[in-house]
Subunit: 394 residues, 3 copies
Amino acid sequence: MLDFSDLPVVDVHCHPYRRADALSPEEWVDALAFGGGSPAYLQEGGIDVDAAALTMLGRLKRDTLYFRFMLHRLAEYFGVATTVDAVVAARNRAIANEGYANYAGRLHQAGRIEALIVDDGYPLPQINLDKFRAEVGVEVLPVFRIEVLIQDLLDDDCGWSEFRQRYDESIAEALGNGGYRGLKSIIAYRTGLDIDPGSRSPDQGRVALDRLRRARGRGDDPVKHLRDHLFCRAIERCIDFDVPFQVHTGMGDWEVHLAACRPALLMELLRYPAYRACKFLLVHTGYPYHGEAGYLANVLPNIWCDISEGLPFAGNAGKRIIAEVLEMAPISRVCYGSDVYGSPEPFYTSALLGKQALGQALGELVDDGFLSVGEAQEAARMILADNARELYGN
Amino acid sequence: MLDFSDLPVVDVHCHPYRRADALSPEEWVDALAFGGGSPAYLQEGGIDVDAAALTMLGRLKRDTLYFRFMLHRLAEYFGVATTVDAVVAARNRAIANEGYANYAGRLHQAGRIEALIVDDGYPLPQINLDKFRAEVGVEVLPVFRIEVLIQDLLDDDCGWSEFRQRYDESIAEALGNGGYRGLKSIIAYRTGLDIDPGSRSPDQGRVALDRLRRARGRGDDPVKHLRDHLFCRAIERCIDFDVPFQVHTGMGDWEVHLAACRPALLMELLRYPAYRACKFLLVHTGYPYHGEAGYLANVLPNIWCDISEGLPFAGNAGKRIIAEVLEMAPISRVCYGSDVYGSPEPFYTSALLGKQALGQALGELVDDGFLSVGEAQEAARMILADNARELYGN
Amino acid sequence: MLDFSDLPVVDVHCHPYRRADALSPEEWVDALAFGGGSPAYLQEGGIDVDAAALTMLGRLKRDTLYFRFMLHRLAEYFGVATTVDAVVAARNRAIANEGYANYAGRLHQAGRIEALIVDDGYPLPQINLDKFRAEVGVEVLPVFRIEVLIQDLLDDDCGWSEFRQRYDESIAEALGNGGYRGLKSIIAYRTGLDIDPGSRSPDQGRVALDRLRRARGRGDDPVKHLRDHLFCRAIERCIDFDVPFQVHTGMGDWEVHLAACRPALLMELLRYPAYRACKFLLVHTGYPYHGEAGYLANVLPNIWCDISEGLPFAGNAGKRIIAEVLEMAPISRVCYGSDVYGSPEPFYTSALLGKQALGQALGELVDDGFLSVGEAQEAARMILADNARELYGN
């Protein structure tokens, strides 16, 4: 195992959050943990959300490896016992003592995190980025999530001419004066990744929107045709502005449909001649189908893999994801990311986990004769920061 | 690697069998081994089942890692040479000397196996469970396989009113006075796991059965509609009786279609509001698609993963399955199981393999800083027995 | 880890190539490396192929683990620095000094490569095998790719009677007097692996060809029906001549569609009664879906797995592929292969990698108690050469 703890980090995919100075242990678990449903999820199923149900939900979150790793590392960082109560008390105390920006900055520095590339389409309502920047004390580069815009336009119930004009102009504004460094799509959560590249015909947008407005709710076909078309338009804007397109692939929460989020479904689109000039960043590298993303990054020259969300939310998967993506993806096409949110702590523990996982995966490649130690060190530097900086021109 | 050899075991998924005191080496291989086809499989393909073909079939079974592990462990247990002949002779001798129940009880005790949760829908005709209980000297809790009942009702060729009434009453009887602790479905072997949750409409059962009876064999559409509906009815009975529903996912034998058995196909159904109160145990945790099952067990609060069949039939996969399922599944949602059958020996060797695989997988999580040794020991105890006891209220 | 460096090797799947005595570093990278697109790929996308684009393409190839491993091993072999320039200079010098056949023969001997089973359907135009045999100094057994023949017949635009007759006769000639040792199909690159076994009806070939000729280019349906039928005919010829059928599964280059190349899609066909007498070799064992291929090789008695292309082109995947395929595939059903081409060097480095990966995978099986050291040595011998010799009757 190699030691990369001193290398700088650019987090290629994460989310801004609202500052919270003091949290109860339950609020902290709820803000940072992953999975296991929610009271609303149970209620919608007609299940009583009593004390036993709440205990069950909390226990599921605390029983994930993701949560255990974070708890152990923070207990070490604060020098307290490995319990939620002790860690949260230490966190609240530190913020009260030194102020939020200092606390966040010190954690980012401990992880050597130098820049965050954030998707501010989550959470909603959107976080003010200037405020966020001031609070976290680290460089923040935003990407623009097209689905927020699409929902706004659908809510306004306008015709295609207006829809298309506002769609194009809003994206151009975001990428021009707006300071956004690229686009992001979560179409995998909506109508799935089997996007027909032929959807780029402007007629498809018009016909699909017309059908949708005349018969809202009758079949999901027009919705899919509309979203596929708007996805294609977004690719074209990325080419125009020479910025990357982040596409969610693979894991999400309970709303993503596993059968529709595989990177393999994107292949026809990614290799379509008109789109070969677009730089696609496959967000979450499609975990648990990350082998497909690595494959695409090998055979197509315009694909980047972001290992976020699998690392850190899939616990000990990190070293496996890195090793398996690198089976085929060129070293220059893999980027560290976390997809975390909510509070500075997981940004720090994710960076620790990312460096540990890289140290194990690249160390094994040295042991097995694939890389010299020097090549491995260069690879770690590229994956942790340089590839993202090159991709986002920063 | 941690040593869990002294921990108690509950086998959450296995099958009863008919007692056989003396077996020839060939019979023993045939009774316990897995895969590689059968004389009937070859005959149906017009292939001569001559001595060479039989040798080939036997060799395929003996060339699996599953078989090699079992042979090595039994040779150690009996203190004989690592050959089929020596092991089978030792087994037959032990049964003759001490009696079947003592022999079986001693093997279960060596593996610290305390309870078997058995699906008596295999083999057919069904095994008498009282007799089986007396022979194996260990606690036996049965689950009820709905497909045996469905086949009986289809064979009786009755109308929907009678079909539905007998289906519901038979399940209620099994879960009430019958002593069954839950249901089990192998719809993955039949019409596949892409079950539409809208199938719960009673009309779908009536229409599908009517179409099926009028045009038996013309397309599989009515069969699928009927099975999907009956699957939904079975979920509702599990909710009524507050018992778990075991659903076969992933690997089986040559009759399961790999493309129709992925856990991902179940997602729409598992998260359907009306079914959120049902506890689903994903049998075989969908191996080789076990990453999908672990994902579902993370993002949905009512999913359990049973690692049976992959462990032990997929040889050295056990430690990988456990590690990869735990990437996302909460520790409280993973259960040891074997899916073995036929004779007491594989129950013992599967328990050995399960403990070894857990020791390796959890030991690595300790090494990588995800769990303390204490947390790993608690996790092993939960996965080997406590999670199954909690799930089955035992 | 066990040391298998002295064991003989039969490469069950690779390609002949045109001799090139002196290559520039760029030509050498281009001839041997994998992935990352090509100037033509970019041009078709309207992208300028300027110096920066060429540098990017070269960098992607050099940034793969496959390439790094090859470079390190060749630098050691020649005793030169680990740079492309030094290795290519040493290679060109060696060929100039000792002659091509001596150079190639010495590399093959260093890897103990004794026989190559070659698919001469790639590259096109086809390589003269007598010439190739003389140049490489090692036994060469060819297999016949049906898609080359199909394309020729389609180009001739003949009716079904002539098409069918020429198709059957050409295959019979190849397998009879032609010296071909079996067939090969890349239908995964064309219309996908979801081949309906009912396609064997002769009517399907006639109707599909008629529809295709009347409406060439209108929908891919007739193409798929025709290819499925011809695939079925090829299976029948393999049964007649008792030779194996190599079927491409899983990874290829950018033209294979990941969603259509999974081994699972073949299941219905592989288990179809009429085809149970055919020996299928699943080329590339379906990587990254190799778990599916291993499963098929377990539950069906007529399936072999070839680990080529994943090993060596997927870098450090080799030991994982072997370990995961052996989870279910009997040891007697797994064959070493490389799928390399272009020059003798990758044949040598692939053999090194294959032996290293086997040493690691089988060594772990010994450590975990699945195999004795003797069993592991026998398994290595079988996988490296004996299984392929048995399959091809050599």
